[in-house]
Amino acid sequence: MYIFPVFKDYYLLNVFSIAVIYAVYAASWDFLSGFTGKENFGHAAFIAIGGYMIGFISSVYPIKPFLSIPLAAVVSAIFGILIGLPTLKLKGPYFALATLAVATIFEKLSISLSDLTGGEEGIYGIEFLTQGQISSFYFVLTFAVLAILIMYILGKSNFGLILKSLRSDEDAARALGIKINFYKISAFAVSSMFAGIAGSIVAHFYGYIGPDIVYPLSLNSIIMAVVGGIGGIVPAALGGFFLTFISEMLSEFGDWNQLLYTVVLILSTLFLPSGIFNYLGAKIRTIGSKAGEK
């Protein structure tokens, strides 16, 4: 099946698994924000829905992944729609604040409602994804590839084209009769569904869900997607994968690692706003077409 190196140590396998999940976080951020131009500053709320739901259920009933993941998909898609509906008309800083507010409300509640959420400690004892490390890795990898592929295909389709038209000018699209609200809500549903599934998979993967692995993702999803490149799913996913991989590898440097992460973000917004992988993709294409001409 997979032509993959058999990892000798589980550390690398772990890092790899987390990096592909983060690629899904970045890609799902891109699906809403990169496509429609509604920049979500609270992606962690979508992730929290998936992750914490599994945590809540697990504390009363040891739910298995094959049940919980579809459940997380449905619940987070509905949640996405519920956030999407009232914020349909908001744009730019207003939408940024609304989403930031939602994620911060979630974070504060996760910490203060500690009876339910375990507070800062989080919830332990969630069923593991599979019995072994390697099978878990393949599970995560399969999911990530599928999720990214689906979002990529949707993005390339006519549906994605309409989302992109909304990013540029909603009024122009409405004038042509495009039902903009339907498309925006759908983008919310897809984005939050994949973020929520990824969140639930992470919960099963670690056997744990807590604020530390959820709330930093509001910012990190933006960083990963923007550094990778928005509007094409794959560049954002690659951004998520590589940034996470590198940052996990450098995690022994602790705070230096985080500092470096923000430096990368700052430099890339200033000098490569189209994103590293969008840039590389364009380069490769021009080289390719030049070679084709000869």
Partner: protein, 250 residues
């Protein structure tokens, strides 16, 4: 009964009456012009007819149905499409994809059954609008003349019954205007699309339209053929002012 009947259209912005009981109609296949000085309320008429602004009073009867207060999406599906005074291309995509977005509108669902048909239709629009040489150029790189053309092309791509064109020639040179003017006439003559045109470029405007509605301060002050309008005292006072006749006669 006309295709589009506008009766006593009334809209107030705070203390300002932007359209004061405007009444006119548009027949099928007709080319109507709306004339008026800056701030007269011309765009506000379009905004109301296309559903972008809710009127405070009046009726907009299209094909026998009162569409007043309906959403832009609904009205576009019925067959009225408008362009914008300040062009609104979809950025970050090429001309072909811009037109493709138009063909994805619900209005075209029944017309276009598959992707081959879609492609054919887009290519047809590109062809009649003379956009062939920029079909795969990103709109971010297009000069104003092409953007104005694209604006018209997008509106025609949904096979409208009525097109509301808001200053499609503004800011263009004479040689840039001609092809757009031709496209408008072609759409009108070939498909019988009714045209409602707002323009300040009098010469081109008067050649293009069959009937003119002149407005000032939100009120209709005259209606008639271009020849009648340029001789109308009220119109000359309000709009053409001093030296106006020269422009028209030139």
């Amino acid at each position: 009964m006309a295709l589009l009947d506008i009766n006593n259209l009334y809209k107030k912005f705070g203390g300002l009456v932007a359209t004061n009981n405007i009444t006119f109609s548009v027949e099928k296949g007709e080319r109507v012009g709306i004339l008026g000085p800056n701030g007269a309320g011309k765009t506000t008429i379009f905004n109301q007819v296309s559903g972008f602004i809710k009127p405070d009073g009046g009726e907009i009867i299209f094909n026998g149905e009162n569409i007043i207060g309906k959403s832009p999406e609904f009205i576009a599906k019925k067959g009225i499409v408008r362009t914008f005074q300040i062009v609104k291309p979809f950025k970050g995509m090429n001309v072909y994809d811009n037109l493709k977005v138009a063909t994805l509108s619900p209005k075209m669902k029944e017309e276009i059954k598959n992707e081959t048909e879609r492609k054919k239709w887009i290519e047809y629009i590109i062809d009649i609008c003379e956009l062939k040489n920029v079909a795969y150029t990103m709109t971010d790189l297009l000069p104003q003349g092409y953007l104005k053309k694209l604006e018209v092309a997008k509106s025609l791509a949904i096979k409208p019954k009525v097109v509301l064109l808001d200053e499609p020639f503004a800011g263009l040179t004479h040689s840039e205007i001609e092809p757009i003017s031709k496209v408008i006439i072609k759409a009108n003559e070939v498909s019988g699309t009714s045209i409602v045109l707002i323009e300040h470029r009098l010469k081109e405007f008067m050649q293009l339209v069959e009937r003119v509605i002149a407005i000032d301060y939100g009120e209709k002050i005259a209606e008639g053929t271009p020849e009648e309008i340029v001789k109308n005292k009220k119109v000359i006072e309000s709009y053409l002012g001093k030296g106006g006749e020269e422009i028209v006669n030139s």
